[in-house]
Amino acid sequence: MSAPVLEMRGITKTFPGVKALSDVNLTVGPGEIHAICGENGAGKSTLMKVLSGVHEHGSYDGEIHFEGEQMAFKDIRASEKHGIVIIHQELALVPYLSIAENIFLGNEQSSRGFIDWNDTLRRASALLKRVGLNEKPQTPVADIGVGKQQLVEIAKALSKEVKLLILDEPTAALNDEDSAGLLDLILELRDQGIACIIISHKLNEIRAIADSVTILRDGQTIETLTVRETPTSEPRLSEDRIIRGMVGRDLDHRFPDRTPYEGEDAGSLALSVAGWTVRHPVDHHRKVVDDVSLTVRRGEIVGIAGLMGAGRTELAMSVFGRSYGQYVTGTVAVGGREVLTKNVPAAVDAGIAYVTEDRKQYGLNLIDNINRNISLASLSGMRRKDGFVDEHKERSVSERYRKSMNIKAPTVFEQVGRLSGGNQQKVVLSKWIHADPEVLILDEPTRGIDIGAKYEIYTVIDKLAASGKAVLFISSELPELLGMCDRIYTMAEGRLTGEVDRADATQELLMRHMTKNRS
């Protein structure tokens, strides 16, 4: 093999309190398609941000060598100048500008400060032909589908004379046909000598096009495996082998022992969802949740595992008062009685609570204090006889939660925006626990919080189940699900792909279910 195009050596990157990357090495050969695999939070995106200069030189340790020279990128423009272009999972296109304008955004074809439209359109057409996109360059980006938008992003990369193209989950939002087209295009670009790093959860895609794969776990390079000897040969690496690399860590005592619920109605159905189907709110052709049926019993903790984009959050939010997407079919029953959860108040009345994965966006009023955040979902229950909220009762309730949940703040009048992630999560949990639901849907309840606070949250979840609540636990961290749940459902592409009992569950088995694609 000739000299590598890219060599990243000993990359270490720390954020306050977290070591995101620790001594990571990555080598990409010329004209190679190199996949990067790892669980959510393994450090893939951080590594790519280091490479592309989003994390500037000096904010991390280690060296980056590109085409034999040592690089010190101070921002993303610096890396683009050398031909390293990253395409993020969330596309960075301006919807109301034309394809041509988007391609040359920040790199306008101009003379003396004025845009040369003829040149712009001519060059845009040429680039569109190269990526095989049959659209006029004047078309607004908002008018074309996500698959085509992805191609526009690639055309934009090509316009910058890309030598190393980085794609972050490029097919996550695409349908099968668009995905296949995109993968073909990547192969074509490889033949033109462009090296490519592709981050993907879809192992079948990696097997289909990658030459080698580097596996990251907990911010460390685990191994680099060869997928195929020559670009045209058949892959010799199995998906199972990749999975083993991704999850191979020991489970240790990081979870509280489960306390069983011993009420009379233990084991009776608390939540049952049947035939639940939801379409994407904008793209009505896509079924984001497809015919999902599941049950949770009283005192039970049931997990939902799935990779990013599997439809877990969408399922939860649509069940919780149809807060996401366009409802198509399906029924929800709480405690065996069917309920119509047409909006959030109806869902709350029916006894469902949803603790969001994105507490800052959807869970908290950051500019208000702990007191008022905790009471928001149960204000009606804190009213006096005259119909007004009893402030003192409210405050005593939130004081109680501040102490019992160990929320670290001097008083309940502390602004929630000032709290750490773990304490914010405790505020959200307090809010919903006080609403006293039958069923709690917890969406990534431990995301972005440190290990000590995680243990506290697990303890709270255990207590909830022990008191007879039904808990639906969505998480991307498999060890967490294995440590806490009685049963685990797996999802992929909006459908349930498996149901595994605690006794039988292993990370390998779950991962196999989670990567089951249609087709």
Binding site: P345, L364, I367, R372, H392, N406, T411, F413, G452
Partner: protein, 409 residues
């Protein structure tokens, strides 16, 4: 690698009672920084002009005058504050003031309607106008800036149509009293206005009782309370302020009717925003709409109600203003929306919504009002008055931004 973690226990994190009250006080000052700041600024402005005008500012007749001059702006500011807390804006209130004033003139002057009936109908017109705008904002989803900008044009135009470009007057005396009247004198002759003294006394007793009851309840719920000494000092300060104000008013004609209306609004809407479920929902919506919706807040209904409320308050202000002018005129209420918005921001509102109090709106309105009145007394022209008011608005909000950055988010 084994990462066995022991669960962190709540050990030694219970602060002593003294520490927690201190934290409570600090928190209270910090979260109300803007309002306390403006209260101090208001006191400073009052003292400044009191000296500058050789004591004219706080003469009983000028205080009455000040209240009657600013009543309608304060009424608007209270409504505007609620609109801004919810994350919206209302540009139409000035035009609505004019329109309602015009309609009341048509009803009373042209059709000789009894003034009480006309007043009720006027408020109803305001409610309908607010509902009209609220419908488009809440249920159709047009931004409030656009809807109320349209309303600003629409109601101004309707005013001119209704009045056919001319002023209508005079109003019946009862109606004029809303803006110009005082509560009637009763009882034997003293140096002071008797009912005002009684009202002042009732107010002091009511305030002290409320504080006492609140403290008792806090103790019953085992919550931390203010230290007794400080609490007593607070009560004395509040009582002294009310008594001084009462004596000032009582040595002129007594309590202006407008002041009664304003105090009624301040107390009732202040209480609603603090203690009613719907009031809390307004704060939640303005702070984070998505989170509020996911917590079960009926965002559309709340938004609709806010604008209905604003419409009624604008109508009330319209009646007060028309009564004060003793005419319905096409040019009434010009730029009132801007005065109300400025008062809200000076009084602690935030452009992005979610913060502010009804009391803050009144303080902000008073800062502007005292500036207006004081500067007129010392013969500063309206040209310079505008410049100074602009700078005050900028400084008030600038102070807040700076203060927030200093503390760190």
């Amino acid at each position: 690698m084994t990462t066995t973690t022991t669960p962190p226990r709540d050990a030694s994190s219970t602060p002593s009672a003294k520490e927690s009250t201190r934290a409570l006080l600090l928190q209270s000052v910090r979260s109300n920084m803007r309002q306390y700041g403006m209260l101090v600024a208001l006191a400073f402005i009052v003292i400044l002009f009191q000296i500058w005008t050789d004591g004219t500012l706080l003469l009983p007749n000028n205080v009455s005058n000040l209240i009657q001059q600013n009543g309608y702006i304060l009424i608007l500011a209270i409504g505007m504050m609620i609109v801004i807390i919810a994350g919206h804006i209302d540009l139409s209130v000035g035009s609505l003031v004019a329109f309602v004033g015009a309609m009341s003139a048509v009803m009373m002057v042209k059709h000789d309607m009894p003034w009480v009936l006309a007043l009720v109908l006027s408020l109803l017109i305001g409610a309908v106008a607010g509902a009209w705008q609220g419908f488009f904002i809440a249920y159709v989803g047009i931004p409030s800036f656009i809807v109320t900008l349209a309303g600003m044009l629409l109601f101004r135009g309707l005013t001119q149509i209704v009045l056919e470009g001319q002023s209508l007057s005079p109003f019946p005396e009862g109606f004029q009293n809303i803006a110009k009247g005082f509560i009637p004198e009763m009882g034997p002759y003293t140096q002071y206005h008797n009912p005002t003294l009684v009202l002042g006394l009732v107010t002091v007793v009511f305030l002290v009782f409320r504080e006492w009851r609140s403290r008792k309840q806090q103790l019953a719920y085992d919550l931390d309370v203010m230290p007794t000494g400080l609490w007593a000092a607070k009560l004395v300060a509040i009582s002294a302020a009310v008594i001084a104000f009462t004596l000032t008013l009582a040595s002129f004609h007594g309590v202006p009717i407008v002041l009664l209306i304003m105090c009624g609004l301040l107390i009732s809407l202040g209480y609603v925003m603090r203690n009613a479920v719907v009031g809390r929902h307004v704060y939640a919506l303005g702070g984070n709409k998505a989170a509020a919706k996911l917590s079960g807040v009926k965002d559309k209904r709340v938004t609709f109600l806010i604008f209905v409320n604003m419409g009624v308050l604008a109508a009330l202000a319209g009646c007060v203003y028309a009564a004060r002018l003793n005419a319905g005129t096409p040019q009434a209420g010009l730029n009132f929306e801007l005065e109300a918005i400025a008062a809200s921001f000076i009084g602690g509102a935030s452009m992005s919504g979610g913060v502010g109090t009804v009391m803050g709106a009144v303080i902000g309105g008073l800062v502007l009002g005292v500036l207006n009145n004081g500067m007129s007394l010392v013969n500063i022209g309206t040209d310079y008055q505008q410049v100074i008011k602009g700078l005050v608005l900028l400084a008030a909000v600038g102070f807040d931004v700076w203060n927030k950055r200093k503390v760190g988010r």
